[in-house]
């Protein structure tokens, strides 16, 4: 298969490269803008590809999809605004690093980890395609429930310093995620008579409000003049800073590999992907790395964990091309485009139309190279963004945030929800609650609730223990909880000892 991909590479025309460059430009811009994502841009581009050759259409659409996560990391690091839900965990450490004057380093790490993650995804895709059916079918309800549960356990354990408030935030998120129709019974819950709440809390206005608008409000309200915590304006980053960021990925190579694999696994699990991969990878990283007190305060390993997981497109593509089951929203749009061009995804795709699969792989690979190279080259200039005076930056972030909330579905209610969530997010941080825990609950809560009942209905309580993947995750969770308890006891013992 590798030889065939290389042959397909060799036959790529200059026009194909041109199309991919256009795709990367569009992908990076929509990735950067809060609220807008690859799926919206792809959906808008589909009609334009109608008259195109199917292969070129795939190259264009996959270039958009491949470059948007890296484009989103720029906004996440520089203005604490997740360009896409895929980048939400990048904000947690990337933005504090930028505020400490290490934006160049964070951008270097994000670009490298994002490209590396895409590469791992492609390798896994190539390796897994022959036995893809078995792998995809190994994910059922108990696996999805335990994956979500494991992510929440890891998160709670990292919030050791403010365990109590982290738990309150988690509970609030779990309650809020129950709004809307109940996917198990089909009934409506907590809609308070408004149709807007039928779909539940919409993820984009919630994330944009919680991170972008609340940060914008904070910048304008606290207006410290210039980059907070740094006396002088942060000087423009140098290429040596960017190089440091690249080196950091190799220094923490196992973390990078672990996070990429998590991203791929989440991608393979049908219909979850999206924002789950990066938050889950981040929370697992908090438990697997040594010395984690700086997580969430500007630890470069947090950026590695998030960015290597969010661009593992190869995983998303496995169920999409093998079964026609989208691995993420982007893949759902891609699926529509394939069908529009008369290509039927499924087990026979690799036999009847292997060129399409090679095209997907080439597009993901080249678009990742292009966007990562752009970030690495532009990082010293981009890193000046946090030097913009706080109130100007805050105003721009508020405008883009509210507009991003609106532009997702062109719904003015989304814009007002974005603003309300922004104000609440400001208080949330002000009083020491955890936005991370709230977001984790919103992202993973529904997945957990649905799959709990589906497991109970189809397999009974034993369903969680008789299958290998859930059993391993449960054992790991128990181990992590016990380890955390012992660590806390040891720490409190050290603090109370007379020496």
């Amino acid at each position: 298969m590798v030889a065939e991909i290389l042959r397909a590479f060799a036959t790529t025309q200059p026009m194909d490269y041109m199309i991919m460059v256009i795709g990367v430009i569009i992908g990076s811009v929509v990735g950067f803008l809060p609220g807008l994502g690859a799926s919206q841009a792809m959906a808008l581009l589909i009609p334009l590809t109608y008259t195109m050759d199917p292969m070129r259409a795939i190259l264009l659409l996959m270039s958009v999809a491949g470059s948007a996560p890296a484009g989103g990391s720029i906004a996440a690091i520089l203005i604490n605004t997740p360009g896409e839900p895929l980048n939400v965990a990048t904000c947690w450490d990337g933005y504090p690093l930028a505020r400490q004057g290490k934006a160049g380093m964070a951008l270097g790490t994000a670009a490298t980890a994002s490209f590396g993650g895409a590469l791992v995804g492609i390798i896994v895709l190539i390796a897994i395609l022959p036995l893809g059916k078995m792998v995809v079918l190994s994910f059922s309800y108990p696996e999805l429930f335990t994956i979500a549960f494991g992510g929440l356990v890891c998160l709670i354990l990292i919030e050791q310093e403010r365990l109590w408030k982290g738990f309150i935030s988690l509970m609030l998120g779990m309650v809020l995620v129950s709004i809307g129709y109940d996917p198990v019974t089909g009934g409506l819950r907590y809609t308070f008579g408004t149709m807007y709440l039928w779909e539940g809390i919409k993820i984009v206005p919630a994330l944009v409000g919680l991170f972008a608008v609340s940060e914008g409000i904070k910048l304008v309200v606290e207006d410290t003049g210039i980059t907070a915590g740094v006396e002088k304006p942060v000087s423009k980053a140098r290429y040596s800073d960017v190089l440091q960021g690249i080196k950091a990925v190799f220094k923490h190579f196992w973390l990078f590999l672990q996070s990429s694999v998590i991203g791929v696994i989440i991608g393979i699990a049908p219909a979850i992907g999206g924002s789950v991969g990066n938050v889950l990878s981040y929370s697992v990283a908090t438990q697997t790395v040594k010395d984690n007190p700086h997580f969430g305060k500007g630890d470069i390993r947090g950026v590695i964990a998030s960015e290597s997981a969010n661009n593992s497109k190869g995983g998303d593509l496995v169920p999409t091309v093998l079964f026609g089951i989208p691995g993420s929203i982007t893949c759902a749009v891609l699926l529509g485009a394939l069908m529009m061009h008369g290509i039927q995804p499924g087990p026979r795709l690799i036999i009847d139309n292997p060129g399409i699969i090679y095209g997907l792989i080439i597009a993901v690979f080249l678009s990742s190279i292009l966007i990562s190279s752009f970030i690495l080259l532009a990082a010293p200039y981009l890193s000046s963004i946090p030097n913009i005076p706080d109130n100007i930056l805050g105003t721009v972030v508020i405008i883009l945030g509210v507009l991003g909330g609106y532009a997702t579905e062109l719904d003015f209610t989304d814009a007002i929800v974005t603003m309300i969530v922004g104000v609440l997010g400001y208080f949330f941080v002000e009083f020491g609650f955890s936005k991370v825990a709230l977001v984790m609950a919103i992202v993973l809560g529904r997945l957990m609730q649905v799959n709990f009942f589906l497991t109970m209905d189809t397999m009974g309580p034993l369903g969680f223990f008789i299958r290998p993947i859930p059993l391993i995750i449960i054992i790991l969770c128990v181990f992590l909880i016990i380890r955390s308890v012992f660590r806390r006891r040891k720490r409190s013992g050290e603090e109370t000892s007379p020496s």
Binding site: I168, V175, T185, Y190, N391, T395, L410, E430, F431
Partner: protein, 162 residues
């Protein structure tokens, strides 16, 4: 709340009470659901309610201590400047927050009923001139660049109706 319960502690308590109300609303509304629909939100809202009540009590206790301490300082310690400046800072912050929220509301209303291209300059004037004391030139530059950026990317490229 006791006299002198000021600034951050009072705001914290208000937020805690808000969380308690949220938990109560969700709990009371969960009673009309059948067991399967109730299970997760019901359990989580009960947990949230208990935790939010405990949090309120925890915040109320140091808050009362703080107000007692304030009384102590007001009678026994002559130098009250630090307490006063902290209080003034908190009040200033709250005033700014209210102004930012009102500016955002104005931005939304103009965006909703007029156009985004007028809403942006208005928000820039409110936040950058009245709160940020920036020059008209800077405000003009920011507002124009944002308008052009949004017109090019949202309206021309992405064909978003604004």
């Amino acid at each position: 709340m006791s006299k002198g319960l000021f600034g951050q502690n009072r705001d914290k308590l208000i937020f805690d009470v808000f969380l308690v109300i949220v938990a109560l609303v969700f709990l009371f509304n969960s009673f009309e659901l059948n067991f399967r629909s109730w299970f997760f939100p019901g359990v989580f809202s009960i947990t949230l309610l208990m935790m939010a009540v405990i949090q309120t009590l925890m915040d109320l206790y140091p808050a009362q201590k703080m107000s007692q301490f304030q009384d102590l300082t007001s009678t026994q310690v002559k130098d009250r400047s630090s307490t006063k400046s902290l209080k003034a800072k908190m009040q200033g912050k709250n005033v700014r927050l209210v102004l930012v929220t009102l500016s955002m509301l104005a931005f939304y209303l103009i965006f909703r009923f007029v156009t985004i291209y007028i809403a942006i300059p208005v928000l820039c004037v409110l936040l950058l001139r009245f709160l940020g004391k920036k020059s008209w030139f800077t405000i003009g530059l920011v507002a124009t660049s944002m308008d052009v950026f949004i017109y090019v990317f949202f309206q021309l490229l992405l064909e978003t109706s604004l």
